[in-house]
C-alpha cells in the first residue's frame, strides 16, 4: 500500500472519521514524510531539538510563523496516523477474536501465531479484523 504524499492528510482525516477504515502509514514512512516536509525548516529553525520527547513539536509550534505550511499540515497528519496505528494495534485482538475462533483453531498461543493464521486466511477473515491488521501495520 503506497500513499501519495499530497493526498495523505486528506486520506487520514477522512479515515479517522470512519475509525476502523482509518489508513495509517508505517513508522518509517512517517519519519520519511517528516524529513521531506519539515527537514529543511528543522535544520534551520530547530537545529538543537530532537525528534522525541515533544521537543520538536514544541519548537515547530514556537516558530510556527516561519515554518512552511506543508510541514505543519504533514506534521499533524503524521501524529494522527501514528496515534491511529497505535490504536489499531491495541484493537486487533478484539477485532479479530471471532475470526481467530472460527478460522484458527489449534493455533499455538502467542499473538504472532494467530496473526500468521489470520493473514494466511485473508480471503475469509472479516473486514473489521483485516482493517485492524492493516492499520496496525501487521499484514
Amino acid at each position: 500500500m503506497r500513499l501519495i504524499v499530497t493526498s495523505l492528510a486528506a486520506a487520514l482525516w477522512l479515515g479517522l472519521a470512519g475509525q476502523v477504515s482509518a489508513q495509517t502509514i508505517s513508522y518509517s514512512e512517517a519519519g520519511a514524510l517528516l524529513a521531506k516536509s519539515c527537514g529543511k525548516d528543522i535544520e534551520k529553525y530547530c537545529p538543537k531539538v530532537n525528534l522525541g520527547g515533544g521537543a520538536l513539536k514544541d519548537c515547530l509550534a514556537a516558530k510556527a510563523s516561519k515554518i512552511n505550511p506543508q510541514c505543519i499540515a504533514d506534521y499533524k497528519a503524521v501524529v494522527a496516523s501514528l496515534d491511529a496505528r497505535l490504536a489499531a494495534q491495541a484493537a486487533v485482538t478484539k477485532a479479530c477474536r471471532g475470526d481467530a475462533t472460527q478460522f484458527c483453531q489449534g493455533t499455538a498461543p502467542g499473538n504472532a501465531h494467530y496473526l500468521g493464521c489470520l493473514n494466511a486466511a485473508k480471503k475469509v477473515v472479516s473486514k473489521r479484523c483485516t482493517a485492524a491488521i492493516t492499520n496496525a501495520g501487521w499484514n
Binding site: 500500500m1 503506497r2 508505517s26 513508522y27 518509517s28 514512512e29 512517517a30 519519519g31 520519511a32 517528516l34 524529513a35 519539515c38 527537514g39 528543522i42 535544520e43 537545529p47 538543537k48 531539538v49 530532537n50 525528534l51 522525541g52 520527547g53 515533544g54 520538536l56 501514528l82 496505528r85 497505535l86 494495534q89 493455533t107 499455538a108 498461543p109 502467542g110 499473538n111 504472532a112 501465531h113 494467530y114 496473526l115 500468521g116 493464521c117 493473514n119 494466511a120 496496525a136 501495520g137 501487521w138 499484514n139
Partner: protein
C-alpha cells in the same frame, strides 16, 4: 545451547512469509536503507538467542570493565566480545557534529526500527540500542556522547514512535566495541546497533 524461541515456529515462519510478501509489493520508503521487515528477520534468529539474564545494566558494567582492563592504545585492546554472538543490526543514524541531535534524514531509519519493534513477531523480546564512536577524541567523552546518542534514539522510539519503554534501553559503548579494530579511526566504527537481548518478561 537451549533455544530461546517459543515453540510453534510454524506460525512464526508463516508470519515471516506474509511479511516478505507484503514487502515485495512495494518498498515502504526509498530513503530507508534498512526496512522494518529486514530488521524483524535478523532479530528473530533462534541461533543468535541471548544468554538468560543479559541486561542493559550488565552490558554497561562490561563496558566499564573493558575500559579498566584495556588501558593504552586501541590497537593493543582485546575487543569487547560480549555482544558479538547476539542477533543485531548496524544502523547508520546521522547526528549533528559532536552532539546527540538526530538529523531529519535519519527519522525514517529510526521509524524502521519502530516498525520492527511494534510487530508481534518480536513482541516477546527486549532490546538495547547502542551508540558507538570511533577513537577520535577522548575515550570518556566518546562514551558519554555514545550514551547520549543512544538515549536520543530510544527517546524517539518510545515517544514519537510509541514503542513500549519497558522493551528497549539505551547503552553507550563508546569506542569499546569497534567494528574495525585495526583501523580504530575508521568512520565505519560510528554506528548505532539494535540488539536482541532476550525474552521480555513483563514485571521482571
Amino acid at each position: 545451547m537451549t533455544s530461546r524461541i517459543p515453540a510453534g515456529s510454524r506460525g512464526l515462519a508463516l508470519a515471516a512469509a506474509v511479511l516478505l510478501a507484503s514487502a515485495a509489493s512495494g518498498p515502504a520508503s526509498a530513503q530507508t536503507a534498512l526496512s522494518g521487515n529486514q530488521i524483524i528477520q535478523t532479530m528473530n534468529s533462534a541461533a543468535r538467542a541471548a544468554p538468560p539474564g543479559l541486561s542493559a545494566a550488565l552490558i554497561r558494567q562490561a563496558v566499564q570493565q573493558h575500559m579498566i582492563d584495556n588501558p593504552g592504545m586501541p590497537i593493543t585492546w582485546k575487543p569487547l566480545e560480549l555482544l558479538d554472538s547476539l542477533a543485531q543490526v548496524d544502523v547508520q543514524i546521522q547526528f549533528a557534529l559532536n552532539s546527540a541531535i538526530i538529523r531529519p534524514e535519519s527519522y525514517a531509519t529510526i521509524g524502521s526500527i519502530a516498525d520492527a519493534l511494534h510487530h508481534p513477531v518480536l513482541g516477546g523480546y527486549k532490546f538495547v540500542v547502542t551508540g558507538n564512536t570511533d577513537t577520535t577524541g577522548n575515550r570518556k567523552d566518546n562514551l558519554a556522547l555514545s550514551q547520549a546518542r543512544a538515549d536520543a534514539v530510544v527517546e524517539a522510539l518510545t515517544t514519537t514512535y510509541h514503542v513500549d519503554p519497558a522493551r528497549v534501553e539505551a547503552v553507550g559503548l563508546g569506542q569499546e566495541a569497534l567494528q574495525d579494530v585495526k583501523n580504530p579511526k575508521n568512520p565505519i566504527n560510528r554506528r548505532v546497533q539494535l540488539i536482541n537481548i532476550g525474552k521480555y518478561l513483563p514485571g521482571k
